[in-house]
Amino acid sequence: MPIILDHVTYVYGEDTPLAVKALDDICLQIPDGQFVGIIGHTGSGKSTLIQHMNGLIKATSGHIYYNGEDIYDRDYDLKKLRSSVGLVFQYPEHQLFEIDVFTDVCFGPKNLGLDKKETQLRAFDALRKVGLPNELYYQSPFELSGGQKRRAAIAGVLAMKPQILILDEPTAGLDPRGRDDILRQIKKLQTETGMTILLVSHSMEDVAEYVDRIIVMNKGRVMYDDTPREVFSHYKELEEVGLAAPQMTYVLQELKKRGYRVDVHAATVGEAAETICRALGYGNA
């Protein structure tokens, strides 16, 4: 179910002296099944943007269409929208509250008014999808490790069976392995179920590795909207707005400066290794 944002503008504290334009005339299309990364410095409008996508914030002007319907129409069912567009907030484990993991994951579907059997089936399915081991299902969520808690919280959103999953910095504070585990699991979810994923991240390396498309936000506007290779080739402009490129971009730019014929668009370690081998005429990488 595609989402279309049509000239969306949002002003915090409108008609007050403190008015701030958080989103400024945003036009975007998110087609089905894409893995989209959203990057931008603190305060660039990323979080405001994603909260529009499931109707938590209403645009000051402009329209948002979900599956062809205007979500600001008077008789539009926002509750349905919120179950189809799942939003995982930053540090979602702070929202865990039930006595055990399984009951916590059941909370969402139960509130959708589903019967007990369907609720439990969905909870099992969601916990399996995030790769949480069985023996943890009946433990208190507070006894899990950081990475496990985070996965339990993501399962709680998945149990609502969203078509679109939006995650706001799902790996903040996790160790490198926990980071990889969660992102790999999300990638698998996207390829296996065709779910659309929007990932807000401060890690350029993670974004380069996993997403198909990057939206760069700056001062409430879309600065770039392209493939990782293209976006990171603007590394100087990205630095000016408080971002950076993955370290590989810097390695390849340096090598190019020293006369190596490398592809400077490679953004991941694997791609960089390949282009360096080729530039050295080394093996058939």
């Binding site: 603190t42 996790l174 490198p176 392995r177 408080g242 340096e254 190596y260």
Partner: protein
């Protein structure tokens, strides 16, 4: 002279059920012996739950050891009479800047620490100024902390600790919530404090590229020190680090991948320049 020293430091959490009966004991820090030299820049790595933060909280006596001893600048941290001296010697900065800032104005927030220590007003202002200059936030002294970015807020938190004139600052994942430029700002400020002011730095982080300039790295696993060495020695052991749920900087990984393809690059490359130089020498 060691500013931080531990011997057999052990910390156990006692888990209890709802009725308060003991269910079991978790050993978060397990017989750790540690020596940190005055003026050095030390990094502590380790996966979630490896005991890093528990260890760090011993340094300014937020936690006291179950067994063993922690000395800060020669003072035993269990000595109740010395607790304020210990906390003044070793300051701490945490992950979330919003939980650490209390003032309405930046300079007021930075002055809070020395004010509590009973420092005369004129000296408080001197300390506030020098601390804010040291982290590059002096121009923002009249701002409300709410108007600052994450990296700026975190630098204000560091200035707040610095104004208490500590000999040592412990930073527990200070960059986890920051964007790339915020991370850069904080790491740069921390390095400057170490090199220019000679403050001992203990940095806990999950971002491997932040610690390539550290003098020493300790890697923790299940409450113990699993690895110890210079960044180059530590990052030469890619497979071992992966076993410990950690990682290496991307350029180090690139060199490692190319080694596997047969390129004869040295182990433990840490920066882009080193990598390019090594490639040219092939």
């Amino acid at each position: 002279m060691d500013i931080i020293k531990t011997k057999d430091l052990t910390f156990e959490y006692i888990r209890r059920d709802e009725d308060g009966n003991v269910e079991g004991i978790t050993t978060a820090v397990d017989k750790v012996d540690l020596d940190i030299a005055k003026g050095s820049f030390v990094a502590i790595l380790g996966h979630n739950g490896s005991g890093k933060s528990t260890l760090a909280k011993h340094i300014n006596a937020i936690l006291n050891p179950t067994e063993g001893t922690m000395w800060v600048d020669g003072m035993d941290t269990t000595d109740q009479d010395k607790i304020w001296d210990i906390r003044q010697t070793a300051g701490m900065v945490f992950q979330n800047p919003d939980n650490q800032i209390i003032g309405q104005v930046v300079e007021e927030d930075v002055g809070f620490g020395p004010e509590n220590m009973g420092i005369p007003t004129r000296e408080i202002w001197e300390r506030v100024e020098e601390s804010l200059r040291a982290v590059g936030m002096y121009e923002y002294r009249k701002y409300s902390p709410n108007k600052l970015s994450g990296g700026q807020k975190q630098r204000v938190s560091i200035a707040g600790v610095l104004a208490m004139h500590p000999k040592c600052i412990v930073l527990d994942e200070p960059t986890a919530m920051l964007d790339p430029s915020g991370r850069r700002e904080v790491v740069r400020a921390v390095r400057a404090l170490n090199q220019v002011e000679g403050v001992t730095i203990i940095l806990i982080t999950h971002y491997m590229e932040e610690i390539i300039y550290a003098d020493r790295v300790f890697v923790m696993d299940s409450g113990k020190i699993a690895m110890e060495g210079t960044p180059r020695e530590i990052f030469s052991q890619v497979e071992r680090l992966k076993e410990l749920r950690l990682d290496v900087p991307q350029v180090t990984l690139l060199a490692y991948e190319l080694q596997k393809k047969g390129l004869r690059l040295p182990d433990g490359i840490l920066t882009v320049e080193e990598f390019a130089d090594a490639l040219e020498k092939l």
